[in-house]
Symmetry: C2
Subunit: 504 residues, 2 copies
């Protein structure tokens, strides 16, 4: 039994009579292997059709999906409608990725002489890994859960998905699976290209199952690392792509602070409290100039936070963890409370926005660790050297943000240099919350931002996680996959031929 | 002290008075971090110059390098000269990869509207990870050791290398490091872009050092897995690229066996005994038709092996392990000896070529495990169904080879389908030994062929192992890396702009 709980009241609305036995898992995995063959046989065009049918099915069930997700997450219809739009768009975008075909990295080296001697005919492309496991996040019941980016990119690659039902939105998980399969059936797919497992035990068994070839995970450092360790310890280790999150820094250079402090302060306040601070991209620390230069930012933040209402959080665990985290932070030497938002009601799980100030000398763990929820720590720096030194005391992260005007560029260039070495995305004169789904997006970063710094969980290149290369040497033309023939049926395929990139 | 031993006699020729203390390692890593900054600042053109200077330095020291390596490995001047050519070529080819620039995956999405709402300006490219550790293989003292593919691709990416001195060719390792640094100095590089550690303890400490961002390894399953586990268990886990090797299968279809059995048999015999069978791509099992169809192949193999001389092996460990492996195989039920090559001399470490025959029913572990050295197991199949069933009992591998003529294509297509799902390279009507260094080469495969199925250790795409993506959002044009500007200084850079691939 899994309880579906309303976080606004803390009451169980529904109990799902579901579980995954060892036998169930065997059957799920066997069906996933069959589905892998079906997805592969569909080819790129066929899979694009499936993804678009899934996107259409999500749209067709929008009202129902948003209602269930809102009841389980408290994120509100506006945010959830936006998230569903993003989720459907993601599926459509991967259909475009398939039609483009560049993701295959198709490469042909014709036979010929080389300084090493004669070379055979070699043709390389990427192939799907096989069934993959997906673990979604509590804070994105659509976009980073059952129908989310991991699922969309894996299906595009040709890999069936077995997802864990999320304990904080189980009914949403089940409905999403049903809707995705409805879309798949409409596109003529017979197999279980998306399936679910229930409960922690089944989830651990899933990560260790021989049929599973890779894992996508979005969630906490604790659970993510535990599962990553399981994946690495298998008799046959498999890739584990965990987006765990870390503390995101934001630096305001002196010029920007002077020129537009009020605007930056208001934007920053809106960013760190957006979605009750429940974003892995939430700015957790802002380094601002000490003294008069930082005054406007400080004032805008304090005013915003003092007036801000408490927000409903995703789950009891999230709310407890936020309460513990903020208690830990406020008890640190050199840390003071600048402002606190409205009180939480008597029932349900709520978080109160909190603005803290810390001495530069206090910048060390646990102040440098992520605290998930609506809390921001202001650190005031006295000089540019002090700002850089403080910044360097933070670990890797998904993002780093810089607010800098023309006059700040000598400092800003140094901050950029440092940030490029330690985060996945550098944001300029904006705020890190909000992650576009596009070709140039990278949502990742060195550990603990993710467990694998080479890959992204958002954007078109996230498909690379589910693919492995194969080279075919001297294979006869009529046995080659279409994409590796000298004249593929579908023109316009970007390929590298004899060392030269071509547009097909 | 590390002994440099002549495998032809088993005598220690030289003792190297070397070790790496904990302090030494700290200093090596600190210098590697400095070297990372230097390599990065050189840019693509600068690093191409460095690689070419290293290649030239290897050529300039060819005689000395081959002599030392021959004395330590017994591989012979012809093979070692060829290997050095390959190693120098590899460095030159990565200079071309740098000049091409496509490996950066530079991608620009200009700001604009999307179905998700307005998108900021996003620009993505790959950046070097930082210092990396390299563990070379005993069987390729140049091409897969200190100056080998891991080093060439890492330096090209902008990552300094700290390599472990190989116990089977320590003097070669040291000389190669000196020669590479001589090349680097000639190109104006000040830093220690290539450094060495000595001994197992220092090597384990290296894998666990916070400054090390990834590991490249070529060698045994046992040591590879041990180091992979260390890398995964770090407080901050890092990517581990282990090429461990596995048993490579070769299938001869009935038509090919009938039409050119003698030729295939002779080629196969030459392939599995090449370099005394000390290749990770050595065919370990050949499935051939039972009865008259396979007769010519069998006869050619027996005749070749019976006349073949014993060959000097790389080390005492290699020779012992080969002796144990062949003893294990010959003692299995359903396995018989078909032919054995010439006896080994009284001193040094030698391996005798060995041809075995196994019943189809005997195809299970340990027969399906790799045995490194000049041994081939012939498995005779009665029907095509039996051939496919036997093939499916083998695990993943680096390669699978098919010999098939036009008339064999229905079977061959099935074999190809299976092979594409389980190996890194499928070879047609040729032999798997010999791995071209090119754009379309993939040298990898699912575990235990490698520890990471997404990446290759040979060919131009091996550079991807040492790079991680970064996205820059709304960063001002004058602060962008050249490759991400709208008009880069160097034209001809392949990029994806607003979703469309371009040739620059």
């Amino acid at each position: 039994m899994i309880a579906s709980i309303d976080p606004r009241t803390g009451t169980t609305v529904e109990e799902l009579d579901v579980s995954t036995t060892t036998d169930d898992l065997e059957q799920l995995c066997a069906r996933a292997l069959e589905a892998a063959a079906e997805l592969s046989a569909l080819g790129r065009a066929g899979r694009a059709t499936v993804l678009r049918a899934m996107s259409a099915a999500l749209e067709a069930h929008r009202e129902e999906l948003v209602a269930v997700a809102d009841r389980e997450t408290g994120l509100g219809p506006q945010r959830l409608n936006g998230e569903l739009t993003r989720t459907a768009y993601q599926l459509d975008l991967f259909a475009e990725v398939l039609e483009d075909g560049g993701y295959l990295e198709a490469t042909i080296d014709h036979a010929g002489p080389t300084p090493m001697g004669p070379r055979p005919d070699l043709r390389r492309m990427l192939l799907p890994l096989g069934p993959v496991a997906v673990f979604g996040a509590s804070n994105f019941p659509f976009a980073f859960s059952v129908p989310g980016g991991d699922t969309a990119s894996a299906l595009a690659a040709g890999c069936p998905v077995i997802a864990k039902v999320h304990g904080a939105h189980p009914a949403t998980s089940v409905l999403c699976r049903d809707v995705l399969l409805e879309g798949a059936r409409a596109a003529g797919v017979q197999g279980d290209v998306v399936a679910l497992v229930y409960g922690r035990e089944a989830a651990s068994a899933l990560v260790q199952h021989p049929a599973v070839t890779a894992v996508g995970f979005t969630g906490s450092l604790e659970i993510g690392r535990m599962l990553a360790d399981l994946a690495a310890a298998r008799p046959s280790p498999i890739p584990f792509y965990g987006e765990l999150g870390a503390l995101n820094t934001l630096l305001v250079a002196p010029g920007a602070a002077r020129n537009r402090g009020a605007e930056i302060g208001a934007g920053l306040a809106a960013s760190f409290t957006l979605g009750v601070g429940q974003f892995c991209t939430k700015p957790g620390v802002a380094l601002i100039p000490a003294g008069p230069d930082g005054e406007e930012i400080r004032r805008a933040l304090i005013s915003y936070v003092a007036d801000a209402a408490a927000g409903v959080m995703l789950s009891e665990r999230t709310a407890d963890s936020f309460a513990e985290g903020t208690e830990r932070l406020t008890s640190l030497p050199g840390v003071e409370v600048l402002a606190r938002g409205g009180q939480r009601p008597g029932q349900g799980w709520w978080g109160e926005p909190l603005l803290l100030r810390a001495d530069v000398d206090a910048v060390r763990a646990p102040l440098t660790d992520e605290c998930f929820g609506p809390v921001l720590v202001l650190v005031e720096y006295g000089s540019e050297a002090e700002a850089l030194a403080a910044l360097r005391r933070f670990g890797p992260a998904l993002t780093a943000t810089v607010h800098a005007d023309e006059e700040d560029h000598p400092l800003a260039a140094q901050v950029l240099q440092h940030a490029m070495g330690s985060v996945g995305r550098v944001v300029w004169n904006a705020f890190p919350t909000g992650v576009a789904v596009s070709w140039a997006m990278h949502h990742g970063g060195p550990y603990p931002a993710t467990t694998n710094p080479l890959h992204t969980s958002v954007g078109t290149t996230s498909i690379r996680r589910w693919l492995r290369p194969v080279s075919l040497q001297d294979v006869p033309a009529d046995l080659l996959p279409d994409e590796l023939r000298d004249e593929p049926r579908t023109p316009g395929l970007p390929r590298r031929i004899d060392g030269t990139p071509t547009l097909g």
